[in-house]
């Protein structure tokens, strides 16, 4: 352990190749992570990052080449083996027991045992406090994971690796679920861990973070390493270029003129509560007109989730009223929202936006199974379904094998395209889009933006909720700030700037 500072490569890969049938997921990948550094891996969806991580974790074995640990090639037998050698990983989907407290999760499977074989809670608490102090975070250890905010769960995952003695931390898109302020917190934590001598390998789509925190950056595209560089030697534009291998076209957005007529969607005095009954939103008034994109700018947890749920008909409204197309929808069930022409892109793609275990065509028609031409007299018309799905997926350039494949088999960006195909093909009048490009690569983001803008140009109304300021600024015709569940102001695109929207997000009035 002590000699590790002297090795050149703490963790790495030498000519690692991994094939899945005809697909080469990793092609002769070389990677060298020096001890005590933060090493970023960037690459688009399907670039082969996850496969490489699985190999470095011992979950998967390379067809050729080998994993390097402390300058020597090794053959990892599994995650437990990797862990025994000091390599721990935080996955994108957290692996925590929701019904246990933070403290219980921390010590799970490595409980300090005291007299009589009982758990020594005092030792556990002392250890937890020590780790929290080391990480410079304050956690309420008695809270259940299910009740803890997402960034605390993430910190807990990291602390758990430290508790178990890992000195190399692999973080898979650690900031994907975090709000900007929490990202800053996480980056500070990563820096502190590095100062402590630990090694961090992290995967990200977000070039800002990579540029600010990484010592070394490895860029992967279609299974190959295309560059290994440092922030000093490169810039965001160049990294983006390397990731996609082609110039990224930004969505063209037509100039905005307020659509005439009455608003299509309108909320008055809307108040909504979260799952625990806490008031999170309102009272707010919000109008959305046909033919405009209204972007909600706000840091996560400021009422966006409740606004989205209310607008999609999925959350009970505590007070106030919602009308759509001139009709009252305040107490309407989700199915009536759908039937009236409200579509919904969920921020939680894997649990709500898609049914991962069902096939691509099932995901495409879900909710429309009773509509013509997909069924007649209660019987599905498989030919029509397949033709409809093929057609819609082709329009969105979804890359898939067969329509009967589970959606799970697609990359994140292609999964989101399937969801978009379903939600736009049904000819909605309002699209509620929550974090529509989360976890999608740069090419995919531009494409999705084009789809949303095109829908608006066809006369559709869009409620866009995003934590990506750039996304809000690129797409929105009007920007509404949300802070502490209250509307802090609104800006037309022509008057918006990063600074102004930033002030709205932080609860300051637009100057």
């Amino acid at each position: 352990m002590m000699d590790r500072a002297r090795v050149a490569i703490r963790l790495g890969a030498r000519k690692v190749t991994r094939r899945f049938g005809p697909v080469v997921a990793n092609d002769q990948i070389d990677l060298a992570v020096a001890p005590g550094t933060i090493h970023a891996i960037v690459g688009g969806n399907g670039a082969g990052k996850s496969t490489l991580m699985r190999i470095l974790q011992g979950v998967d074995q390379p067809d050729e080449g080998s994993v390097i640990l402390d300058d020597a090639p090794v053959r990892l037998t599994g995650p437990a083996d990797a862990f025994a050698r000091g390599i721990g990983m935080v996955h994108q989907e957290f692996m925590l027991a929701p019904n246990l407290t933070l403290l219980e999760n921390l010590i799970l499977a490595r409980e300090p045992v005291g007299r009589g074989g009982l758990i020594d809670w005092r030792v556990a608490q002392a250890e937890a406090d020590r780790l929290a102090a080391l990480a410079g975070v304050a956690l309420d250890w008695r809270v259940k994971v299910a009740d803890a905010p997402v960034h605390q769960r993430q910190i807990l995952e990291i602390l758990r690796l430290l508790y178990r003695g890992a000195d190399v931390l692999i973080l898979d898109e650690p900031t994907a679920v975090l709000a900007p302020a929490q990202v800053t917190e996480l980056i500070a934590l990563m820096r502190r861990l590095k100062a402590e001598g630990r090694t961090i390998l992290f995967i990200s789509h977000k070039l800002d973070e990579v540029m600010s925190v990484a010592d070394v950056i490895t860029v992967i595209r279609v299974g190959r390493v295309v560059a290994t560089t440092t922030p000093a030697q490169t810039d965001k534009a160049q990294l983006a270029q390397l990731m996609v291998g082609e110039a990224v076209a930004m969505a063209k957005v037509a100039p905005y003129s307020r659509p005439p007529g009455a608003p299509l969607f309108s909320a008055r005095g809307l108040v909504a509560r979260d799952g625990r009954g806490l008031k999170r939103l309102g009272p707010i008034d919000l109008d959305i007109f046909a033919g405009e994109i209204v972007g909600i700018a706000g840091v996560a947890g400021n009422g966006q989730d409740e606004l989205v749920a209310s607008a999609a008909g999925l959350g009970a409204i505590a007070e106030g009223a919602i009308s759509f197309g001139g009709r009252d929808f305040t107490r309407a069930p989700a199915s009536r929202f759908r039937a009236a022409g409200i579509s919904y892109l969920s921020a939680d793609r894997s649990e709500e936006g898609l049914c991962l275990t069902a096939s691509i065509s099932d995901n495409f028609i879900a909710g429309r199974e009773q509509e013509s031409p997909f069924s007649r007299g209660g019987f599905l018309r498989l030919k029509m379904i397949n033709a409809g799905a093929e057609n819609a997926l082709a329009k969105l350039s979804v890359r898939y094998g067969r329509l009967t494949d589970a959606v799970r088999s697609l990359s994140g960006g292609n999964q989101q395209r399937v969801a978009i195909a379903r939600e736009l093909e049904r000819g909605p009048r309002l699209l509620v889009a929550a974090q529509p490009t989360r976890g999608v690569d740069i090419v995919g983001i531009a494409f999705i933006h084009e789809q949303i803008a095109a829908f608006r140009d066809r006369g559709g109304a869009v409620l866009l909720v995003s934590e990506e300021l750039e996304e809000i600024l690129t797409l929105s015709d009007r920007i509404v700030g949300l802070y502490g569940g209250q509307v802090t102001g609104q800006l037309l695109r022509s008057e918006a700037s990063v600074e102004k929207v930033g002030r709205l997000m932080l609860g300051q009035k637009a100057a």
Binding site: A334, S335, E351, L354, C355, E369, G378, F379, S409
Partner: protein, 345 residues
């Protein structure tokens, strides 16, 4: 990528594995008790499938299992773990038997359908409560349906010891049903009856329903991901309720067919756990029509071979029960394994 290159093959292996493991365990038990495993298995196979009569006995034994397996599968695929088919089976059996002797002077073409429909309706009504509790309040249906089983078994047992006890009978049994209420035998003198054909047809119908109908699609998607279903506008709670009641209808019908086809009356201890075996059958068959049919026939073969085998050998009937139990354990283990893998991949 890289997930299950040969899905059909791996699925077939998944279905066969519990049986294979059970056969191995049975062989160990047989060898340990001084029997020749291969010989006993040979005897079992010939007792279950050797000749028309034995096949008929196997299919007779499979008949109630087809429907209790179907009752479980209908619920499971929509995400409801209904374990209440046993109670429905008892109630359905009793209702069919009572109608079978009370309306004994009706013509068969009327009497049989009325008795069976009555049995199904009572089974369906029995599960309305758990269905509503689950759909509206999220009450765990495993607990409610399990408990209702005890109530159903004891309620029917009390009825056949009291109000419905056949005059002059010392046993806890109703009067026999009218001859006109009996389901016709298919291969006299064997006991194979029309109920087998009805059951088989219903399972086949289920196979079509699950693949080709809107309702089948919805119940499957709800079972896979209820939150997703709600977001795309499928009525989750009414799907839960409907599938629960449908499961109860099928469970009740299973009991009715058993009463009219084989027992010809209702007795206390009417079912040796057909409702629970149905759970294993649905799990083994992965809720698919073909899987249910195969699993029901295997279980039918085990019980019919077990019944006759001990007449001709010193192999105890318990070995069959051990094998049935082992199949069930491995079926459930397999089920859990599949779930865990599904969650990770």
């Amino acid at each position: 990528m890289g997930v299950a290159m040969l899905p059909a093959l791996s699925r077939a292996a998944g279905v066969a594995a519990p049986f294979a493991l059970a056969v191995v365990i049975g062989a160990i038990v047989l060898a340990a008790t001084g029997h020749e495993p291969l010989g006993v298995y040979g005897l079992m196979a010939s007792e279950a499938f050797g000749g028309e009569r034995r096949i008929a006995a196997t299919l007779t034994a499979a008949t109630p299992l087809l429907l209790t397996g179907l009752a479980a599968a209908v619920a499971f695929r929509s995400g409801i773990f209904n374990v209440g088919a046993e109670g429905c089976f008892y109630l359905g059996g009793m209702v069919a038997a009572v109608l079978g002797f009370a309306l004994g002077d009706w013509p068969s073409v009327l009497l049989i359908p009325v008795a069976l429909v009555g049995a199904a309706i009572v089974g369906g009504l029995w599960l309305v409560g758990p269905g509503v509790l689950r759909a509206r309040l999220g009450v765990d249906e495993v607990v409610t349906t399990l408990m209702l089983n005890f109530i159903a078994v004891d309620l029917t047992s009390w009825l056949v010891n009291g109000p419905l006890l056949a005059r002059g009978s010392a046993n806890s049994a109703t009067a026999p049903i009218a001859v006109g209420a009996e389901l016709p035998r298919l291969l006299p003198p064997t006991t194979l009856h029309l109920g087998f054909v009805i059951s088989l047809a219903l399972v086949a119908l289920y196979g079509l329903w699950s693949r080709f109908t809107v309702a089948g699609f919805r119940s499957r998607i709800v079972g896979l991901n209820a939150r997703f279903s709600r977001a795309v506008g499928i009525h989750v709670s009414s799907t839960f309720l409907r599938m629960m009641v449908l499961s109860g209808l099928i469970g009740g019908l299973a009991g009715g067919i058993h009463a009219l086809g084989l027992v010809h009356r209702f007795v206390a201890g009417f079912s040796p756990g057909y409702g629970f075996t149905g759970i294993a059958i649905a799990l083994l068959g992965r809720n698919s029509a073909l899987g249910i049919i195969l699993a029901a026939i295997v279980f039918g073969a085990l019980s019919s071979a077990g019944a006759t085998m001990q007449l001709f050998s010193d192999v105890p009937i318990e070995i069959v029960e051990i094998m049935q139990g082992a199949v069930m354990i491995f079926a459930v283990a397999k089920f859990g394994f599949g779930q865990a893998r599904g969650a990770r991949a």
